[in-house]
């Protein structure tokens, strides 16, 4: 039995560079395997099936419909499923339609919802372009409501830049609902749709906002721009919609230019398309753009609206189901070169609008033209009405405040009695 060798490494690294290369390769391979798995899984998880995507003449109405709820019903559509990343590779009108249908669109506030102070958040909407920001595969893409790319950039969002040691696994992707504010080149985040591959579509606004606040900052995305992080992200401050919350949102000083107030029902899920559970409200004090402008940026003397022409000659709003505003006769349609699906611009004449229970009794419409091609949607009922009210009898900030204070008194009353 010979003595045992007790030599230890001397002036040497414990791991050779060859071993390091081997280890790095294994790491890369297992990450990529994990990525591939994740991609396969995401095809089902967050994901929205694009019905009849192959047929060229898609009815815009189908697109503005809320998507079938894949997650809970278990009935996947026979049509091909898309996840957001596949959708990112869509081009042209298909992409526009797909993305247009993915954002949650607020209705305009034409009357004050119940329990505003208990069930709703309020936040000051930054002025700017509403967009989807998707970070995945080492890059970040922002797309406007019409599906066109606004920026393609590296960010500190999960998977948002090609950089070693970025937070979180490479396979995960995130989707934020943002407004890009030109003046300070900042993406103001108003909602979180997916985070690290985990879908928040089915979560309440309360949870999404909580998640947004706690998670976004961790990534460093709120930090100043750097090489791997081209634009700063910032969470829009949101408040419980009580007196002080409303006051803060309405009058508070913020780093961005405001464009109205957004109201979110705390219990609402992220619902693609128009929803009455998110509301937008504006007045002159908190927005430069209360009354719509025309193509030249001027406020026209008459209110303009855009409606969609149906097969039967009815002109309707973008709501689901659509609200019929009026009916065009076949000769006029032919003469003006309109076809079913056309978006048509009208002015509201002196006869004005008359509504009962969300339906138009009377509408004095004057035909202007076929709408700008970039537009994906007709106006919604609530928008038409809000604009109409803004010109005639607006819903004022004081009205909101007084509704809240009435609610508070109702809440407080029984308490007083009990303590007596």
């Amino acid at each position: 039995m010979a003595p045992h060798d007790l030599r230890r490494p001397f002036k040497r690294r414990p791991i050779s560079d060859q071993q390091k290369r081997r280890d790095l390769s294994l790491l890369r391979q297992s990450q990529h395997r994990s990525d591939a798995q994740q991609r396969a899984r995401n095809l089902a998880s967050s994901v929205i099936s694009l019905q009849s995507s192959s047929s060229p003449d898609v009815d815009p109405e189908t697109l503005s419909e809320p998507m079938p709820d894949v997650d809970t019903t278990g009935h996947e559509s026979e049509a091909s499923s898309f996840d957001i990343r596949q959708a990112s590779s869509l081009r042209g009108p298909e992409a526009r339609k797909w993305f247009a249908s993915q954002l949650m669109l607020p209705e305009w506030m034409i009357d004050v919802p119940e329990n505003l102070s208990r069930d709703w958040y309020v936040l000051a909407r930054p002025a700017g372009k509403r967009c989807f920001v998707v970070s995945a595969d080492g890059t970040t893409v922002s797309r406007l409501r019409n599906g066109s790319v606004l920026h393609h950039f590296p960010s500190a969002l999960p998977g948002g830049a090609r950089k070693k040691g970025v937070s979180g696994p490479a396979q995960s992707y995130s989707i934020l609902d943002c407004i890009f504010h030109e003046a300070d080149q900042t993406y103001y985040v108003i909602d979180m749709v997916c985070w690290r591959g985990y879908s928040l579509y089915e979560c309440t606004a309360e949870f999404r906002f909580f998640w947004l606040q706690s998670k976004l900052d961790e990534t460093g995305a709120c930090g100043p721009p750097s090489f791997y992080h081209k634009f700063r992200f910032s969470v829009v401050p949101f408040y419980n919609c009580d007196q002080s919350g409303l006051h803060s949102a309405y009058t508070g000083s913020l780093p961005y230019v405001k464009d109205g107030l957004l109201f979110y029902n705390k219990h609402a899920h992220y619902h693609t398309g128009n929803t009455p559970l998110v509301l937008i409200w504006k007045d002159e004090r908190c927005s430069q753009y209360v009354i719509d402008t025309d193509n030249n940026g001027q406020v026209p003397s008459q209110q303009h609206i855009v409606l969609e022409l149906q097969d039967d000659g009815k002109i309707v709003t973008s709501d689901d189901p659509p609200v019929v505003v009026n009916c065009l006769n076949a000769d006029f349609i032919k003469q003006s070169g309109l076809s079913p699906g056309s978006l048509v611009r009208f002015a509201i004449g002196d006869g004005g609008l008359n509504c009962v229970d969300g339906k138009f009794e009377k509408a004095d419409l004057q035909y202007i033209s076929v709408s700008n091609r970039a537009r994906a949607f007709a106006d919604s009922y609530s928008k038409i009405m809000f604009q109409y009210m803004a010109r005639h009898s607006p819903l004022k900030a004081e009205d909101l405040a007084s509704v809240i204070s009435q609610e508070n008194q109702q809440d407080k009353l029984p308490e007083v009695e009990m303590s007596d």
Binding site: M1, K11, R13, H32, R41, A44, T73, K164, Y198, F227
Partner: protein, 872 residues
Amino acid sequence: KLVAMEVTQLLLNAQSIDGTVRKHAEENLKLFQSQNLAGFLLSLAGELANDEKPVDSRKLAGLVLKNALDAKEQHRKYELVQRWLSLDMATKTQIRAFLLKTLSSPVPDVRSTASQVIAKVAGIELPQNQWPELVGSLLSNIHQLPAHVKQATLETLGYLCEEVSPDVVEQEHVNKILTAVVQGMNAAEGNNDVRLAATRALYMALGFAQANFNNDMERDYIMRVVCEATLSPEVKIRQAAFECLVSIASTYYEKLAHYMQDIFNITAKAVREDDESVALQAIEFWSSICDEEIDILEEYGGEFTGDSDVPCFYFTKQALPALVPLLLETLLKQEEDQDLDEGAWNIAMAGGTCLGLVARAVGDDIVPHVMPFIEEKISKPDWREREAATYAFGSILEGPSPDKLMTIVNAALTFMLNALTKDPSNHVKDTTAWTLGRIFEFLHGSTIETPIITQANCQQIITVLIQTMKDAPNVAEKACGALYFLAQGYEDIGPNSPLTPFFQEIIQSLLAVAHREDATESRLRTAAYEALNEVVRCSTDETSAMVLQLVPVIMLELHNTLEGEKLSSDEREKQNELQGLLCGCLQVIIQKLGSEPTKYVFMQHADQMMGLFLRVFGCKSATAHEEAMLAIGALAYAAGPDFAKYMPEFYKYLEMGLQNFEEYQVCAVTVGVIGDICRALEDKILPYCDGIMTQLLKDLSSNQLHRSVKPPIFSCFGDIALAIGENFEKYINYSMPMLQSAAELSAHASGADDEMTEYTNSLRNGILEAYSGIFQGFKNSPKTQLLIPYAPHILQFLDSIYMEKDMDEVVMKTAIGVLGDLADTLGSHVGGLIQQSVSSKEFLNECLSSDDHTIKEAAEWAKHAITRAISV
């Protein structure tokens, strides 16, 4: 049948100087063995036991016998064991008797050979409960035996302990063995050969002494005898006794508190006064204590929390005031040219290494004990003092906090840079360059608050390092190492690296070093390419144009190595090594440039590069093959679907790699690269899948292939299934049963040791990744139903690994993902089954509340998929 005389002649002829005679004899031995194994082994044992036969034939008989019982390769060993067990009992009994008889032979070599053969037989038979009387018969009258027989018996006991696992020897026998061994070591034993054999036997038997070390009296006795043996007048006994102490330090760390004062005195005396062979063991004792304490402190975050099995006794910390001076003294005992000799190991090297471990074990506390020594000696005229001071400094850089070291290091930096250029001693420069490397390794990087390297000194540091790279090969090698860590410190520097202004110069200098005529000395060329790789890895986009320029340069070098002139085998070996280094370098560059925005320009080199890699496969070098294969994997990832054009030519090398059982690293790397290619080509890999799958299935069934390659092969099934989707159908009938039997094996292979548990978990992970890939690949296919029959078993597998409670986080994540994949793909067909499984309840809940967000994420996914599957 051969008679005994003929066997003797054959064995002697087999050692003849005459090649023909030798070859003839070897063939005859083989023939004999194949015709009559029992007779063959019996005559070998008879030859070994026969004192009238020549020593040479007896020794070879023993050796052949030994080789008939054991082999290095696992599968061969298994065959030999089975072969021995199937021999008839009469033959085995006779062989055993011959072997035991040989222990009394007057010829020492023959006795020793017999000892080893007996241990091999015991290694086979004791676990089968055969030859139960062996230990008893060895020990029966050990006290009455003549010294030489006693010596052989003790040696046999030592080998036996090395050969068999403690759990197959009854405690009663263990006690007898230890008693005999420790008595043999005792000072009362007058015969040094016996005492030495006993001491060496104890070294082997320590693993058996668990129960005895738990008993205070028995432990005291063993420790006293071992300590006494370290004072024996016979140097070999002292050395063997210290070896026992070293082994005790790691095996019975927690039992040592009571003996540490005595052991310190013994080791200090040995380090200062004894023969170097003994002094080295004495230092190793302290290195082992440090190893233990570093492990304990790492595991428990520095504090003894009460829930650890082994508390830290802080032996090193307590010994510090005496131990450090002892080690510092050794540093002055350098050998003149130790840095030029790869195999050198002496007391100064061991002392410095130990000092480094002490620093890691005690942290800040070491600094005040070492600083006076450094300050006193760093400028002395004698190179030994300067080198010792520098070596001490370099040794303590890992362990103490940066805060503690920062001022000292800043003060020393200028001195060091100066020494590198001006010191006349090669030895001092070698150690100085190494110390600079250590400074950069531990005190330079994004985690360090106050940087050592600043705008003010960066230029000077780089200039000095580049200058030093022109020094003697051993010094230049250390300078390359320092540059490696200098670059590594800027790994996550962001867009602007302070190295950018020097980038071109650094690259050119490293290439110049690699081209030095003496670059093959002192590993210099390897160090140069390693530094080059790290500089490239840590480079930023600012310098990507320069990295791009490096591509044709490295390719040309690789091309030159392939232009084969006739080379000597030594030259060819060096050539192959260089090919490996160049392929490695290209691999690093591919990973750097193979993505946006450099990808497009870089990929213009792809065809040519691929051509070179394919030629590397034509050379016979495992390392070069492995490196080329890894580089190709990286290239496939960068090329994506375009990689398809290389497949027709590359495929045969892929197949070759999968068939390389011998150099299993090549096989393992090839399996990984198939995964890369699957992800790059997706369904375009289909035409090659028949071949690949056939080879992978063969690999799995082979018992020659190293077991570590099997888990990645399973993962690779998943990669293929995910790439080709329902086309995987035709492999289902082959792959599923393999997965199933491997799953059964790995579900309950609750390993006795950590290594086994680790392997079991990697196997489980591979199997689970295969299932995930297959399920996801078949999703939305009408052929999904083919998988339904396998669902019960897979769920059972998930349940059983959950119940075993020994899976690691990786397996946990993969396992819960498989549950989701199964639900997702098979949906309502398996809703009922899933609801019955433990996995869908306890396991899922456990994962949902995991702190690890990747596990949680996978669990959320599984929950989601299950909800859908059972709601229909």
